[in-house]
């Protein structure tokens, strides 16, 4: 048990029309790890994410999570196994309050169905109270407690990202997938996000993140997997990846390792 990774993606393939979006990608997330999936735009990061969370099924290959095959299962079944995710293009429930969003995330922590809800059975009432308490604790963790009763859609962008993270935490996952959590955040917000992700990891929740923000990745990731045109071109510690010539050529060359190229004056 100790040796087996929490999640293993084996030889994933996904084709969209003529484009090989994910081409033979394999990697593993160890328990307690923050693994970052990086790569230039169109490298297949989000598609890989979707294959893991069940939003799409892979054409080939499989995903094993906690010794069970999850590829091919519905997203809701995958969530039940203890895997939650956020979305790059925010998918918050805008009309619901922040608290209700996170309480919806607590869905699996409850059992009350239509009958129990309609009749307000004591069991459902107790469950509701427990869920509200849990949801509030996730809001406190993410610094959203003061906005609990505001419609989620009315929050600024950065806070909406946090709503998604809080909602993901409410699923009580063993692995949390964060899809570009720093996109659109300013520097302060990104630093706060850094600390939040580390705190999440310290609670024993492994994190798999897709990220553009190199500073964030290099600061917090334990392990980095680099994709380029749908294929994995490197993996290792942040330092190893930074030193890898393929990675530098494919991706980091432009804005990380080498000094910025001198361009003739832009029009």
């Amino acid at each position: 048990m100790s040796d087996t990774p929490l999640l293993r993606a084996s030889r994933l393939f996904k084709r969209f029309g003529g484009v090989m979006a994910v081409n033979d990608v394999s990697f593993a997330v160890q328990e307690g790890q923050i693994l970052a999936l990086i790569g230039p735009n169109g490298a297949g990061k989000t598609t890989t994410f979707n294959l893991i969370s069940g939003t799409h099924g892979p054409d080939q290959g499989e995903v094993i999570f906690r010794d069970r095959r999850i590829s091919g299962s519905r997203p809701s079944q995958i969530a039940q196994q203890g895997l939650a995710r956020t979305f790059q293009n925010l998918q918050i429930f805008g009309e619901m309050t922040v608290l209700e969003n996170v309480m919806a995330g607590c869905h699996l922590q409850g059992t009350a169905g239509f009958l129990a809800a309609a009749l307000r059975l004591p069991k459902a009432g107790a469950e509701e109270k427990r869920m509200r308490g849990q949801a509030m604790s996730y809001l406190e963790q993410t610094g959203l407690a003061e906005r609990a009763h505001d419609p989620a859609g009315s929050l600024p962008f950065g806070q909406q990202r946090l709503v998604e993270i809080a909602r993901g935490l409410a699923v009580q996952p063993q692995l949390l997938l964060l899809d570009e959590p720093a996109a659109g955040l300013n520097r302060t917000e990104t630093e706060e996000l850094d600390r939040l992700i580390l705190r999440i990891r310290d609670q024993g929740i492994s994190v798999l993140l897709v990220e553009h923000d190199m500073n964030l990745v290099m600061a917090i990731a334990d392990h980095v997997v680099v994709l380029h045109y749908g294929s994995k071109i490197a993996e290792g510690s942040p330092a190893q990846v930074q030193a890898n010539p393929d990675v530098i050529a494919a991706y980091l060359g432009d804005d990380w390792a080498a000094p910025p190229r001198r361009e003739a004056a832009d029009a």
């Binding site: 969530a79 309609a118 909602r167």
Partner: protein, 341 residues
């Protein structure tokens, strides 16, 4: 914070509910007019139908243009089970609800593979199929000329025979429907429904089995509709297929939209508003346009629907509140944003 805590406990809903229940209980004492009592009773029936659709469409986001199908199944179950199969009227009512819920669940497994317009078309088709069955299976349904002699319900040996009896009975069930539905929307399943409406994919990733929820809400809305149908059959004693056509389904949509799709109180208000307007139009149009028939009524409803969709797409109850707030807010800064963008 405090205000919202109270809302969670359901207090404003509870107060509104009690006022409404008391008002309705007292109404027949002051209204000595069978016509008005009958209109109020019909409002109760359509309240149940509209709440069913509101849960399905407004909360769970699934379109149905065929709610009259289940209204019809309930009505004909009441008629057929109680007369041909010898079930008691109460059991027939229950059987109709179970049958409608079951039919919805099974049909839902097929049609919820569809989305948007296709789903709407499928539900329309479902309604047309029911109409064909009702008109063609003459031996069971009495065909186009209708079914006579639906028995009255009775409570503790007392047969309900007057309009006032049915007024109380049907409003009793309508209030139960309102109460149960208010509880549902403010619960774990209610949040799951709204979540799947807002983003089906996000709801799924939270472990919400969206497919199952759609089927359950559809079955619930069908059971509400069948309850209304069974009560309607018993109340009138006579039913015919023309009451369960697409027109009836559209009227239910109209009521839900007028009230505000995602509001249980809105559904009640919408049902009342449309029925009152309908009664008024019947007399008003005739005096304005001599020789007018049903068509003008349909045109008038079409117009109402268009105006509401343009000016208050969230319905009168929700829309009026928002418009009021927007007006107050707009007082301060002038509109600065250019058109377009």
């Amino acid at each position: 914070m405090k205000r919202l805590l109270i809302a969670r406990l359901g207090s404003p809903n509870l107060i509104a509910f009690l006022i409404m229940a008391l008002g309705l209980a007292a109404a027949p004492v002051f209204i000595d007019n069978n016509y008005i009592i009958t209109v109020l009773t019909i409002i109760a029936l359509f309240t149940m139908l509209t709440i069913g659709l509101s849960l399905l469409m407004g909360y769970a986001g699934q379109i149905s243009l065929g709610q009259a199908t289940f209204f019809g199944i309930g009505a004909y179950s009441m008629a057929i089970f109680s007369t041909r199969l010898g079930l008691s009227p109460w059991l027939s009512l229950l059987a109709g609800m179970i049958l409608a819920g079951g039919v919805a669940y099974l049909l839902g497994m097929l049609i919820f593979r569809l989305h948007g317009h296709y789903l709407a078309m499928a539900t329309l088709g479902m309604n047309i199929i029911l109409y064909l069955i009702l008109t063609q299976q003459v031996d069971w349904t009495g065909g186009p000329s209708g079914f006579r002699g639906v028995p009255d319900l009775s409570i503790g040996g007392m047969t309900l025979s007057t309009d006032t009896h049915y007024y109380y009975l049907i409003w009793f069930f309508a209030l139960i429907t309102i109460a149960l539905s208010l509880n549902i929307v403010n619960s774990r399943v209610g949040r799951a429904m709204r979540a799947l409406h807002s983003s089906e994919i996000a709801a799924e990733t939270l472990g919400i089995d969206t497919g199952r929820f759609k089927l359950q809400v559809f079955a619930l809305s069908a059971a509400y509709s069948a309850l209304a149908g069974g009560l309607y059959a018993s109340f009138l004693g006579f039913i015919s297929p023309s009451s369960f056509t697409i027109n009836a389904s559209i009227k239910i949509v109209l009521m839900a939209v007028v009230g505000g799709l995602s509001s249980i109180w809105g559904a009640t208000f919408g049902a009342a508003a449309i029925l009152v307007i309908e009664q008024w139009l019947r007399t008003a149009i005739k005096s304005l346009v001599p020789g007018a028939s049903g068509e003008q009524e349909i045109i008038a409803f079409g117009l109402i629907l268009m105006l509401i969709m343009i000016f208050m797409p969230e319905g009168l109850v929700t829309g009026a509140g928002k418009a009021l707030r927007a007006r107050i807010a707009r007082r301060k800064p002038e509109r600065a944003q250019p058109a377009g963008g």
